[in-house]
């Protein structure tokens, strides 16, 4: 489903070249639950950004859902991302001036759905994550756990083939973290492929496969 071959990513900061990934090879099959662990600055987020088509590798081959994404235009990458990949971030990344259901419905807007359909599907996604009573609340009126569940609902509303989560429990208490990971595990059982970047051992315990990234290189892999 996902194939990375010799992936390099280097950031340029002024005169300085900062390597983030240095020759990463990785295969992810359908319905996998992959956890990527590593210390801060190890390249976890960069790897997720590349898989999620948010960024482009400096060098290397990336295949997603069976096709090479190197040659895709910005529009094609956006469409693929918007229809097949869900994202969950540590900081939730909810748009502050949109209500919970509107935040969830943002991907549907770009997918071209009309307002009525967007509303219905967003409410269904929020109900699925247990927030049916919070659909008209603004992010500022929600707790951290609730915000993260809105973010999950937004990731799920498009029925993605792949969900990418970057430190999803980073801002949550232990109870909310457990609840969220259980939700991820349930999704995975339903057929969604999950890749989660974290440095939290508790999160890692949910993995079907674990990768450890250090200084932009995969240093360990456990099944």
């Amino acid at each position: 489903m996902i194939e990375l071959q010799g992936i390099y990513k280097t950031y340029i900061k002024g005169q300085l070249k900062v390597p983030a990934l240095r020759g990463v090879d990785l295969n992810v099959t359908k319905q996998e639950f992959l956890i990527i662990q590593g210390p801060s600055g190890s390249g976890k987020s960069t790897l997720l950004n590349l898989i999620g088509l948010l960024d482009e590798p400096t060098r290397g081959e990336l295949h997603l859902f069976g096709e090479s994404v190197q040659e895709l235009s910005d529009r094609e990458r956006s469409r693929l991302r918007g229809r097949s990949i869900g994202f969950v971030f540590q900081s939730y990344n909810l748009i502050a001036h949109l209500k919970a259901w509107e935040n969830v419905a943002v991907p549907l807007y770009y997918a071209g759905l009309n307002r009525k359909d967007r509303y219905q599907r967003a409410v269904a996604a929020l109900t699925r994550v247990g927030l049916s009573k919070r659909i008209r609340h603004l992010p500022a009126e929600l707790s951290g756990g609730e915000e993260q569940r809105v973010a999950i609902a937004r990731a799920l509303v498009i029925n993605p083939k792949l969900v990418l989560a970057d430190e999803p429990t980073g801002n949550l208490d232990s109870k909310s973290s457990r609840s969220m990971m259980e939700e991820f595990a349930r999704l995975n059982r339903e057929g969604v492929t999950l890749i989660v970047a974290t440095h939290d051992p508790f999160v890692a315990s949910f993995a079907k496969r674990l990768l450890v990234l250090q200084d932009g290189v995969i240093v360990a892999a456990n099944q």
Partner: protein, 728 residues
């Protein structure tokens, strides 16, 4: 922009104000043009004036009428005034061709038009009929020995071109070789083809459409309006730039949101549309409110007093608003669309956004201040240039210099002023110098031009120093006294006669006698009062002058107003039952123009002031945002010991870095623009660099206020709060 809502309101206000002013300026312009169009439509837009220096004969008229593109042609010859002995009126005759009434669309109140066989017949203007015959229909009667065959219907006063005919008497032209000065031509088809056909038939003629003739009567209003439109367009550009600046700040502010949207599937064009829509909404809302405000302002002005004509400028304003909104949105939207999604997501905190590197905000703020300060200097140049222009019109004159002359173009008989009246004028108390002046229309030998007005001046002239002699010198008392053949030329006439050559020392032939040119005077507007192209000693053509007038210089202790009344009364006593003499002062002309200048400058200064205010708002917005992005840094500085004063200084310096260079750029731009503007206004070229300090002071003030205020607000935050906010 969520974090700085005040910025959006201020920019919206700027768009509203700019649109309102533009709406008013364009509305007045549209009203003026509509009035001209209505005058033109009254007479027919397909009418052209064809003029040739050498005049036209009946053969030329027929030749022109036979062209396929021409529907009809009429000729207009010279006019002459006849003084009827024993009557209280005079008659001004205008020679015309038989089709004149038809081509010039002159309806008859009674009687008939001319036929080609008519001789010794006249058609009266309405006012002539009223003065001479009262309510009686004069058709069939005799006037000055000629049979009256018709009376023209009254021509409204607003019809600047034809209304003179109310006071005139039309007579059929004879069969002289060159009897028409001007041909009135009705074209049958496309104007372009007709012009080409006329030019082909008569290569040396000038062709003027009737619309241009009418426009010339509104030249002053149109010039002022053009300045207003240009200024309001400048303001609108400033408002557009402010919208662009706000959107750019909005892009930086919402960069993280852009990342989120891109993450969930938004394409680059989707993001672009988002910001274009925001820009269009802002400008559109401002445009609609501004148009309403413009209309309300006009309503208010019309209630308060003088109300200019106002047209409907929606057809121009709304597309312009849309175009400006679109242009203002393009660059910020492009910046937003090209942002890498992963990078955009990383710009979550203010601190991160401050390093985003999205440029253009400073440039736009600079642009706004540069345009506004450039406008201020242009205004200063306009006022200084106009002052210089007014100063150049006449010599060192004041309210003590009076011109006494017969009223022009009045059907009532003017007093026949003569050189003998000189003695009587000198007897009036308070009169210091009197110079007589005779006038006559003469064809200058050796040049191909219609007759020009030559004036003869007598002793006393040199003491008046009335004219501004730009080249050479004035006529001396000795030359005037002895009647030496020397001449003083109007600058425009000298240019026409001698081209690029130095006119001083050249010879001019008047009535077959050579006259040496000794000086050239500025006649840009002095012609209005003086009405002469050539000035020679009175004695040179003694006995040949008519239309006498007098230049009077009053003693310092005399009261000009009382003396004016005394002069009018004096001539009423000498020439009873005639029109009153006119007593005018060149200084009054200057005063009138100065009043116009003050009115124009005050209107423009309001616009320039608004432009500067908008510039200040633009800088305020930018500095506010820059300080917002640097909140954490400022908090750290405060922790490290920076006082509130230092924070304010930092904001002021940030603003001055924008406004001062912008002021210099604006100054440079306006210096470059002063020349074309002064040429447009027909002013002498002058750049008042000595006033440049006003621009520098203005931009420093803007910097201090627009930078100091947001910095002061930021300085009020506690250091801990500032650091916390910076991390948000």
């Amino acid at each position: 922009m969520k974090r700085a809502p005040a910025g959006r309101w201020l920019v919206l206000t700027a768009v509203v104000l700019a649109t309102a002013v533009l709406w008013l300026a364009l509305g007045i312009r549209e009203g003026l043009e509509a009035e001209i169009r209505s005058l033109v439509n009254r007479i027919g837009a397909n009418l052209f004036y064809v003029h040739a220096n050498e005049g036209f004969g009946n053969g030329d008229l027929t030749r022109l009428a036979n062209l396929a593109e021409i529907a009809a042609v009429a000729g207009e010859g010279g006019y002459s005034t006849a003084y009827i002995p024993g009557q209280t009126y005079n008659l001004t005759y205008l020679k015309v061709s038989p089709d004149y009434l038809k081509v010039f669309q002159l309806p008859l109140a009674s009687g008939r038009s001319f036929t080609p066989d008519d001789e010794d017949v006249v058609i009266l203007g309405w006012k002539v009929k009223e003065v001479v015959f009262g309510n009686i229909n004069p058709v069939g009667r005799l006037l000055d020995g000629k049979e009256i065959i018709g009376v023209l219907a009254p021509i409204p006063d607003d019809d600047e071109i034809r209304r003179r005919l109310n006071d005139w008497v039309l007579v059929p032209a004879g069969s002289d070789e060159k009897l028409y000065w001007t041909l009135l031509v009705r074209i049958g088809g496309a104007a372009k083809h007709a012009r080409q056909a006329i030019m082909h038939a008569f290569p040396r003629v000038t062709i003027t459409p009737i619309s241009k003739r009418y426009s010339m009567y509104f030249a002053t209003e149109r010039t002022l309006n053009s300045l207003l439109v240009m200024s309001s367009l400048g303001m609108f550009i400033i408002a557009g730039a402010m919208v662009a600046g706000l959107l750019l700040l909005s892009v930086i502010d919402r960069s993280w949101e852009i990342g989120v949207r891109r993450t969930v599937g938004a394409t680059a064009p989707d993001i672009m549309r988002l910001f274009v829509a925001e820009g269009l909404f802002l400008v559109g809302a401002g445009g609609i409110i501004g148009s309403g405000l413009g209309q309300a302002m006009f309503f208010l002005f019309s209630r308060l007093g003088s109300s200019p004509r106002l047209g409907e400028p929606h057809a121009v304003v709304f597309p312009l608003v849309f175009i400006v909104g679109l242009i203002a949105s393009v660059y910020p939207s492009w910046q937003a669309a090209r942002m890498n999604p992963a990078y955009a997501l990383s710009l979550r905190t203010l601190e991160a956004r401050s390093r985003s590197g999205i440029g253009g905000g400073r440039f736009i703020a600079m642009f706004v201040v540069a345009i506004a300060s450039g406008g201020l200097f242009l205004l200063i140049s306009l006022v200084a240039g106009s002052q210089q222009f007014l100063g150049s019109l006449w010599g060192p004159i004041d309210e003590r210099t009076l011109l006494v002359q017969s009223p022009r173009q009045s059907i009532l008989a003017p007093p026949e002023l003569s050189v003998n009246d000189l003695r009587l004028l000198r007897t009036l108390p308070g009169v210091e110098v009197v110079a007589v002046c005779g006038s006559r229309s003469i064809r200058i030998n050796g040049i191909n031009s219609p007759a020009i007005t030559v004036k003869g001046v007598a002793n006393g002239w040199a003491n008046l120093k009335l004219l501004n002699v730009e080249q050479g010198r004035d006529l001396s008392e000795q030359e005037i006294g002895k009647g030496k053949p020397v001449a003083l030329l109007a600058a425009s006439f000298a240019q026409n006669m001698f081209g690029g050559q130095n006119p001083i020392g050249q010879t001019l032939s008047i009535k077959d006698a050579p006259y040496k040119v000794v000086g050239v005077f500025n006649d840009r507007m002095s012609m209005w009062v003086l009405g002469a192209q050539v000035i020679i000693p009175y004695k040179c053509l003694e006995g040949l002058w008519f239309s006498h007038s007098f230049f009077v210089h009053t003693a310092p202790e005399a009261q000009p107003d009382k003396l004016r009344t005394a002069i009018v009364d004096l001539f009423q006593d000498i020439y009873p039952n005639t029109a009153k003499v006119e007593v005018i002062t060149p200084a009054a002309q200057v005063t009138e123009w100065r009043r116009f200048l003050v009115a124009a400058a005050s209107r423009l200064s309001i616009l320039v002031g608004l432009g500067l205010l908008l510039g200040a708002i633009g800088v305020f917005n930018l500095v506010s945002f820059l300080l917002l992005l640097r909140t954490r840094e400022l908090g750290i500085r405060r922790v490290a010991g920076a006082t509130k004063y230092r924070i304010v200084t930092l904001g002021v310096m940030e603003a001055l870095k924008i406004t001062v260079p912008a002021g210099f750029i604006g100054l440079g731009l306006s210096i470059a623009g002063t020349g074309p503007m002064q040429r447009f206004l027909n002013q002498p070229s002058s750049i008042p660099l000595e006033w440049a300090w006003i621009i520098i002071v203005a931009v420093i003030c803007i910097g201090v206020v627009a930078g100091g205020w947001p910095a002061w607000r930021t300085s009020q935050l506690s250091p801990a709060k500032a650091i916390r906010r910076g991390n948000q």
